[in-house]
Amino acid sequence: MTTTTRPVRTDAPATTPEAATAPWLLVARREIVVRLTDKAFLFGTLFTILLICGFTGWQVYDASRTSEYTVTATPGDREMADRVAAEAPEDTVAVDVEPAADDAAARSLVLAGDADAWLHLGEDGWVLTTEDSENAGLTRVTQDVVRTAVLERQAEALGTTTAELEAGSEVSTSLLRGDARQSRLAEFVGFAFGFLFYIAALSFGYVIANSVVEEKQSRVVEIITTSIPVRHLLAGKIVGNSLIAILQMVLYAGIGLVGIALTEYSGLVTVVTGPVAWYLVFFVAGFAALAALWAAAGALASRTEDIQSTTAPLLMLVLAVFFAAMLVEGTARTVLSFVPPFSAVLMPTRLLEGGAAWWEAVVALVLLMATAVAIVGVAQRLYRRSLLQTGGRLSLRQAWSAPE
């Protein structure tokens, strides 16, 4: 980061405010530099990136590894066991067959750990006996193969084929499966939306409130407000911190999308990218509105110690947005997805779930942006009027009606 963004003028007099960099830009730049040189912030970001990488990495590893199982069967059941071994999808589940002379031998093989399971025909059908816990992969494969085999046999007895029996059912089955995958992903990404918004709104909220109080507490604010208009100071703070927050969010989202591309959900990256883009747009509007409120909350305090109490209502609001995104269902969810600031998280999530049309997103965005503008206006008044009051904590009413 350089400290000069324009050439040094040597021919001009010392002060020509008209030609100088806009004050809000200077403030924003300072906020960014301060944040980017703050070790706690950098480590926090790095830690989050590692978490995301670790999580996706584990997903990729988990999806790609092959589980090997040994199944034992007595000679009478050997045919079915061989078929399971033959038809197992080898990239995820590989099955070996260990022959056993009789039921007792099969049981002792499982107990000794030489075989993972014993496949045998019970009174009501096939049974997969394991020692003390089920192996999900093996169970699924065995169920699939056994079902097919039994269906084939019974179809033959009825003088028909499995294909005929299954005709008409296969298409709907595979569609159901695809939806299930997407909705599982939507659930996860939706949670990520809510969680990241919560983290960003809270961590940057406190950062903004603190940077306002720092100026009040160190009294440097009096020098600054006699140098530039107060609205520039507020705008610079919001813009600077929002930029950093958005940059961080884009970084996380990008890493997350790359991560998804590496997992079995890679086909869904295109499905997710649209909502993620929407999420970033909603994030900007929602974050700007909250940032203004956090700045005002910071201005209500006189010392760092006051911040906890002046920002408490905002903490509640951010928590409410987070839990609403997680818990609210049905019509309430649809309604809330238009109500700022809930819309910042809920609308992109609904888009992701495929439950909202593009025009709904536009309406929600316009509402959110209008609210952001109104909130910035209100926050500016609170900020301006409480900024130079250093006699302790101010109530909202005091700040609103304080003389300038």
Binding site: T4, A14, V34
Partner: protein, 294 residues
């Protein structure tokens, strides 16, 4: 010229500043004197636009002052403060830029001023690592950096060591000589007396005296010190003078009737030798005490 006209500010039921008027002329060092709570800081904050005005106005070059004018003033608030974690030079460059300087100019000027205050080697230190006195010097630099069109300094000398006081006084004289109006408040009356061309004395939110130092002194009591060969007790009986202090052969007289001192001198020489007869100029502190408690 900066004109302060009938400025009034109330805080609830308390009128902190009550119809204060005075001028700060270009090229004239104006000292602002008054006890705690007299209204100096409130007045200066109104002049800078930091505090709203209930009545009256501040005029700059004959028209109402605008925020743009105020932004080009140099201001040193009563309560000192800078960003504690930021490095001295970076901070000065930032504050200079906020005043409309380029980073390069701000950097050069800041280094020059730091040099003057003997802080050149602390330019890369964080503000919080500096002593309070040095932090104050940095703040003075911040107020002067952008070549202000007027200076409003609230207690610029408090907390400075004698060397820094001299450097500060030189700087103020220098700025003043370029035609910039300078208003500064101080509790250090001897310093104000030595430095200022003009004084404004505030008490209970009102201007109780204003004018040049000599002018103010001339409003004070006229006193003579006399030392004679003989005892001066007879002075108590002389009309037209008041004996302030008498110690055997030495006395301090206050002239009540104009010309009475000449009568006293004649009488004294008639009684014997007179070793000393001199006019005693009242100290500013005496005048201040008198007007402030009047």
């Amino acid at each position: 010229m900066l004109e302060i006209s009938e400025l009034t500010r109330r805080f609830g039921d308390v009128t902190a500043v009550d119809g204060v008027s005075f001028d700060v002329l270009g090229g004239v060092l104006t000292g602002f004197v008054g006890g705690n709570g007299a209204g100096k800081t409130t007045t200066m904050r109104m002049v800078m636009g930091v505090l709203g005005i209930d009545a009256g106005e501040v005029r700059w070059h004959g028209r109402p002052v605008t925020p743009q004018d105020q932004r080009r003033f140099g201001y040193m608030p009563e309560e000192r403060g800078l960003y504690p974690k930021q490095r001295v030079l970076d901070q000065l460059v930032y504050l200079g830029q906020l005043k409309g300087m380029s980073a390069g100019e701000a950097g050069r000027t800041a280094e020059e001023h730091l040099e003057r205050f003997g802080l050149a080697d602390r330019a890369r230190s964080r503000v919080e690592e500096l002593s309070l006195g040095n932090q104050q010097r940095v703040q003075v630099v911040a107020a002067l950096l952008h070549g202000p069109t007027a200076l409003v300094l609230d207690e610029p000398f408090s907390g400075l060591d004698p060397t820094a006081v001299d450097a500060m006084a030189d700087l103020l004289r220098e700025r003043c000589a370029t035609g910039v109006p300078v208003l500064f408040s101080s509790h250090q009356l001897d310093l104000v007396e030595q430095l200022c061309d003009r004084l404004v004395i505030l008490a209970d939110g009102r201007v109780v005296a204003a004018g040049g130092a000599d002018e103010l002194r001339s409003q004070g009591p006229v006193r003579y010190r006399m030392t004679c060969e003989h005892d001066t007790g007879w002075l108590r009986e002389v009309r037209g003078v008041h004996v302030v202090d008498l110690d055997g052969r030495s006395a301090l007289l206050e002239v009540v009737e104009h010309g009475a001192e000449q009568v006293v001198l004649r009488d004294a020489t008639a009684r014997g030798a007179v070793h000393e007869f001199s006019l005693v100029r009242p100290a500013l502190a005496d005048i201040y005490r008198e007007v402030a408690t009047r």
